[in-house]
Symmetry: C2
Subunit: 239 residues, 2 copies
Amino acid sequence: MSGDAFGHLLDAIDKGRKGAVEIVERDDGLFFTGGGIDYMDPFRKWDPVERRALRFARGRVLDLGSGAGRVLIHLQERGYDAVGIESSPLIARVARRRGARNVRVMRVEEIDDRLGTFDTVVMYGNNFGMLGTVPKTRRLLRTLLGVTSDRARVLAGNTSPYPAKGARQRAYHARNRSRGKLAGTIRIRIRYREHVTPWLEWLFLSPRELEQLLVGTGWKLARLVQDESQRYVAVLEKT
Amino acid sequence: MSGDAFGHLLDAIDKGRKGAVEIVERDDGLFFTGGGIDYMDPFRKWDPVERRALRFARGRVLDLGSGAGRVLIHLQERGYDAVGIESSPLIARVARRRGARNVRVMRVEEIDDRLGTFDTVVMYGNNFGMLGTVPKTRRLLRTLLGVTSDRARVLAGNTSPYPAKGARQRAYHARNRSRGKLAGTIRIRIRYREHVTPWLEWLFLSPRELEQLLVGTGWKLARLVQDESQRYVAVLEKT
């Protein structure tokens, strides 16, 4: 028994265990499987938006929430000097087992200039929303100012929560708004076998909401990579 | 919102909905996906034991807990006069949509001679354990005596819970035993999206335990179809 249900899940997927499927429990009693991302997919199977936006990566790269190494290993194979940050020691082990060479076990809140300077920060797999709230995300962006070069870019991946699909989703959005949260905030925990994570918040926001969040952080929206889906990558540059 | 999570799941699978995966919650906090059975598989993909045991079907057939019609539709296509019993109206609709011609919405406890007389009773997909307790299962077997011909057979499908895999499973077995239940009893509920079934018990028992359960029911173990797996079909005949 451990709170690192997501780590045990990725470990099991990597070991090819049958029935290794992510179960997500939302705080209104909604259950669903799969986070919408195949955590170990090779580049050719990635979401088209993430693939296209990767052309904006350059220089030394920081992968925030590098997980099982999907993005990190690909960047490494393309010859980038890439460092992954991953809070779970178990997940970092999985990534290393899969070939990731440079994963640091730390929380994004612990990032400081001991990591050196980066030219690109990647937050794929909806990771731009991983801190769950606007203030925490803004704080992270300010932290990133200090560990990046003048010409740095953030590739901020997320999925717009609009339009809400169905009455239940609309009610969930309304509840968030009434609590002063962004409508697309979700409060979830991950379950796998006997493991369950603590409750955590994840942020889904529209490109417009993202642009508003940027004000005063030292970053601006330089380009938006999107298609007919609700997924997008916002390319941020320093103001 | 409805308690028929399993019905909504089968409906979604049949409609090809993405993410339509069975989530099973056990009462000790264990979560897993998939009941181990693909509810709509064609005959060629069935468990080998179930395929082999089907040769013992003959005459008029009653399929108990016919679900999405996996077994019922196959029997129908083979030319059997087959009737399915299914307690969920939604699941019965799914089965009919998939081509099942003779599904009755009723609980197995409601079976009586208005259904006519059967020569074979099929309980596949571990359905021999669906009533969850030894007394209820014995009562069902006695009911079946009255709606079956003298030469009738019951094809009782189940999976032995032994040997228990891992410490958690052994502890679960021990807890069951301490409560006077068969070790392989599981207390579960099914979740799908916002739907959740009531808690229900399901029985997994070894062929030996099954034979003991039969004593005094009017049925005996005539043949055991099994392989190297823990799945089996017990072919029961009248004593």
